[in-house]
């Protein structure tokens, strides 16, 4: 039996139709250590953990999972939990109206002849809560405690399953500093008790502080695995270099911008979370977009990029929004989506299936959706005109579909994205905010989307591109803002921008100090 390593993942390859998410990934976790996994959004970290925990069952991937020297064939989460592997996802999986104790033993109830033994449930829950340092009664409902405490309940739940290998996916992403510190302390305490942890985090300062080993994953491959306390201590810069170190090839069309006057200025923009109204999701952000300019917005998951964009777009996200918007130098008020559109602002969503398209309807009706009044007289839609418009965009944008009467839900991701873009281009805005415009679409279609974005800029529109892919921002933007924890932490012109520099801004804490 391999006594040094509790877990080895050997040559893991995971393919989705058309995409290789993981390619020959190796991971070796030593017994009793805290092992950090770093990588950009979409690098494959979460996919790897889903393979490990059995969410992607044995047979759906290639390679071996070796636990305590034995090859495992997990067919589901229950199998991996039986062997002591527990994963805590970024989005917590607690049932809000059940109590802490009920949640801890959900699916694992303390029963006496088929009947739940509440005294035992609550007593055991209280013991677990003491172990994780959570000072709440076991019968408190989950909705009544904050996210930080909920995270501790998740860990208590993991302990109740006799966890030996705890996986935490972005555990501190939604926590404040105090809760984060407590959580990290707890992970150290668990280490002292002999529990091994794998932690996925974007917060490099936390990794530097807590991890024994760091593995870097990029583009679905293991790049390197380094001991943090070796002869040469690992710095944040070192990790960043590993995370972004790839070369740019010719994936972007050539473009020479013609930049004009300022078209949109956002000043001191602050947005609070719609439910937790004390949490600032966007914090005093300032940014400007000029005509003919493609501006990038970089940030890690949870930095507040989408929240910033949607709150500007007719306050379609957030509560208690403050700040000022200037369009062509004049202050405007866009309190509803209709007003935002009337002021010439468009927002193409990152989640086209949920927020962008009516999937059960046709291309033509989706294209016309934002500007139907342009096609209507006295409230009656000119359907021939609508067909002509849609047909024009089908040709111009090269939407691959048999006709404009095709149902949008049956198109590929790239073609659906072109329908979303057609919709907003037809609405003829002055500013287009494109949120992850190339998410989930293949390389060829990406190139086409970049070309369309360049055309829009050349037509004198201001374009704001939000993207998790730094090479994409570096490849198409004239100027890039970095967002971290709701604050604009940096602004760089294309000539001076590099992935390392952006990543530094993106991982700054909210006081602007590099972590």
């Amino acid at each position: 039996m391999d006594t040094e390593h509790i877990l080895e993942m050997r040559g893991i390859t995971k393919k989705f139709p058309g995409v290789v998410a993981l390619s020959d990934v190796n991971l070796a976790v030593r017994r009793g250590e805290i092992h950090a996994i770093c990588g950009e959004n979409g690098a494959g970290k979460s996919t790897l953990m889903k393979v490990l925990s059995g969410i992607y069952p044995h047979g759906s991937y290639e390679g071996d999972i070796v636990l305590d020297g034995e090859v495992q064939e997990f067919r589901g989460v229950r199998d991996s939990e039986r062997r002591g592997i527990v994963i805590i996802h970024q989005e917590l999986a607690l049932s809000p109206y059940l109590s802490i104790a009920e949640n801890i033993f959900l699916g694992n109830e303390r029963v006496e002849r088929g009947v739940i033994d509440w005294n035992r449930t609550n007593a055991e829950a209280a013991k677990l809560l003491a172990r994780v340092g959570l000072d709440e009664r076991p019968d408190t409902k989950i909705v009544d405690i904050g996210v930080g405490k909920q995270q501790l309940v998740e860990i208590a739940k993991a302990l109740s399953k006799e966890v030996r290998l705890l996986i935490l996916d972005e555990p501190t992403a939604a926590l404040n500093d105090e809760d984060s510190a407590h959580l990290l302390g707890l992970i150290r305490d668990l280490k002292a008790e002999g529990i091994t942890s794998i932690i996925i985090s974007h917060k490099l300062n936390e990794i530097e502080a807590i991890a024994d080993t760091t593995t870097i994953i990029r583009d679905g491959r293991t790049i390197e695995s380094m001991p943090m306390h070796g002869a040469e201590p690992v710095t944040e810069e070192r990790i960043i270099r590993g995370m972004v170190g790839r070369s740019l090839d010719n994936r972007f069309p050539e473009h020479t911008p013609t930049i004009g006057d300022e078209v949109l200025r956002i000043e001191d923009w602050t947005v609070h979370h719609p439910v937790d109204q004390t949490r600032r999701v966007v914090d005093g952000a300032n940014l400007t977009i000029r005509r003919g300019e493609i501006v990038g917005l970089a940030g890690l998951m949870g930095a507040g990029r989408t929240e910033l964009a949607m709150s500007v777009f007719g306050r379609s996200y957030g509560s208690n929004i403050s700040g000022r918007l200037y369009k062509d130098g004049k202050e405007i008020h866009a309190n509803t989506v209709q007003q935002a559109i009337a002021h010439g602002i468009a927002y193409a969503t990152e989640d086209r299936k949920r927020f962008g398209l009516n999937l059960i309807d046709t291309i033509e009706r989706n294209v016309s959706a934002s500007a139907l009044n342009k096609l209507a007289r006295l409230g009656v839609v000119d359907r021939r005109g609508e067909g002509r418009v849609a047909e024009r965009y089908r040709r111009e944008m090269n939407i691959k579909a048999p006709s404009v009467a095709s149902v949008v839900g049956k198109l590929s991701g790239g073609n659906q994205q072109k329908v979303v873009l057609s919709k907003w281009i037809y609405a003829d805005p002055d500013v287009l905010i494109l949120d992850e415009p190339t998410r989930g679409i293949d390389v060829g279609a990406k190139y086409e989307i970049y070309t369309i974005i360049n055309r829009l800029a050349d037509a004198g529109k201001g374009v704001l591109v939000i993207s998790s892919e730094l090479p994409e921002l570096l490849g198409i933007c004239d100027r890039i803002y970095a967002l971290s924890q709701g604050r604009v932490t940096g602004e760089v012109a294309r000539a001076e921008a590099s992935q390392e520099r952006l990543m530094q801004y993106m991982t700054m804490d909210k006081d602007g100090i590099a972590r």
Binding site: P17, N358, K400, P402, L411
Partner: protein, 411 residues
């Protein structure tokens, strides 16, 4: 391929390969094919009962009665299909019918309002009731199921307050709305009411001309048109259907029932509203994806509000038709009307999840229920069994639809 699957965005989305199958080519026809299917089902049911009742189903007076008896379902189904397409439901229409019917009857009997004024008053009160419910749904954000469940109790209670038990003794010209027919001003041609024949001929001509013009226009703009053979077959089927109906009705005691004209006008007007206007388009957009519609600039609250106002107005019309047919306002009127209307919509192909449904489908759904009712009654089937049979038909219709979609999805 289910179009409503939740997408897990944290994992890489596999890009679908663009594959243009014949099924996709026929996509433009998809909605229509579904309509042909349900229309075919209606014809099969009619023919079935025609045989089972030894030809009594399609006797002239029975056909006239079919429309008179079921006018209320058709009128309510028009409003209900709009509510359902938008992703809501309205459980209160039966109670609203009783309440409005009571007000109309009392206004004529106790306040001596002339019948046309009473009719307008009834429709207006229906609109106010709709605005009340629309306010709670659209602007307060209470689910329509709850709001209209409350409305069901509230307006049934108010109906009892207004009516007591029964308000009878209504003017004969009011009662004629439901029981009367268009006057025979043009005489008879070999026992056939000429007015009825004329209306039928006009209807056929109007449909043929409008379809031909629409097709010519599509051609001219180089847009997708259905195959010529299919088009001619469709027109011929419509013409023959209306022709047969016209001839049968022209032999009936009164000719064309007035309610049939009312329903006909409403169907044409609302089909136009749903199919051709911005408002109709917004209803489909909201039902298909409420969040996307909102982010496309559709004022979803305002649309929701007006959908309920409209439902109230149509419930007012249904109240007048119902009260006129009974010749009196009864506090217990309109029992289960909401269920009839909802069933008609779902039999007619409306989707429970919203976004899909047509006025024509709902009308055909109402007719299927009506023919079942009448056929089973002629065969003297126990009303208890009638109810059970109708329930099974609803279940099977929706199950059939679902299986069809699932099969299409696995191709």
């Amino acid at each position: 391929m289910s179009t409503r699957t939740e997408v897990n965005i944290s994992s890489p989305t596999p890009p679908d390969l663009p594959r243009q199958s014949i099924g996709q080519r026929l996509q433009g026809l998809g909605g229509n094919a579904r309509q042909y299917g349900i229309f075919g089902a209606l014809i099969v049911i009619v023919l079935l009962f025609q045989v089972l009742t030894d030809g009594k189903l399609l006797l002239a007076n029975n056909v006239a009665a079919l429309f008179q008896q079921n006018a209320y379902v058709m009128i309510l189904a028009i409003g209900m299909v709009m509510v359902i397409v938008a992703g809501h439901i309205d459980l209160s229409v039966g109670s609203v019918v009783a309440f409005v019917g009571g007000v109309v009857a009392v206004s004529m009997r106790d306040f001596d309002l002339s019948w046309p004024v009473a009719v307008l008053l009834g429709i207006a009160i229906g609109g106010v009731v709709g605005a009340w419910q629309g306010f709670w749904v659209a602007y307060v954000g209470i689910p329509a199921f709850i709001v209209t469940l409350a409305g069901m109790l509230v307006f049934r209670g108010l109906a009892l307050v207004v009516v007591g038990e029964t308000v009878a003794g209504l003017p004969s010209s009011f009662i004629a709305i439901s029981k009367g027919s268009l006057p025979n001003v043009l005489g008879f041609a070999s026992n056939m009411d000429v007015v009825t024949l004329l209306i039928g001929a006009l209807a056929v001509a109007a449909i043929v001309i409008s379809q031909l013009r629409a097709r010519a226009s599509l051609r001219k703009h180089d847009l997708h048109v259905e195959a010529a053979g299919l088009f001619v077959a469709k027109l011929a089927l419509i013409a023959v259907g209306i022709g047969i109906l016209t001839v049968i009705l022209s032999f009936s005691a009164g000719g064309t029932p007035i309610v049939l004209v009312v329903v006909g006008v409403l169907v044409v007007a609302y089909s136009f509203l749903m199919g051709r206007t911005v408002f109709g388009r917004h209803i489909y957009a909201i039902g298909g994806n409420r969040l996307a519609a909102g982010l496309s600039g559709v004022n979803t609250r305002r649309v929701d509000f007006w959908i309920f106002v409209n439902m109230g107005l149509l419930a007012g019309v249904a109240a007048i038709v119902t009260t006129a047919r009974a010749g009196a306002a009864i506090a217990a009127a309109g029992q289960n009307f909401e269920l009839d209307a909802i069933a008609a919509c779902f039999i007619g192909g409306a989707a429970v999840t919203g976004g899909i449904g047509r006025i024509s489908g709902a009308i055909i759904g109402a007719l299927i229920m009506g023919v079942l009712n009448m056929g089973l009654s002629i065969m003297s089937v126990d009303p208890a069994w009638q109810m059970a049979i109708k329930g099974l038909v609803l279940l099977l219709a929706v199950a059939f639809d679902l299986l069809n979609k699932r099969r299409a999805g696995t191709q």
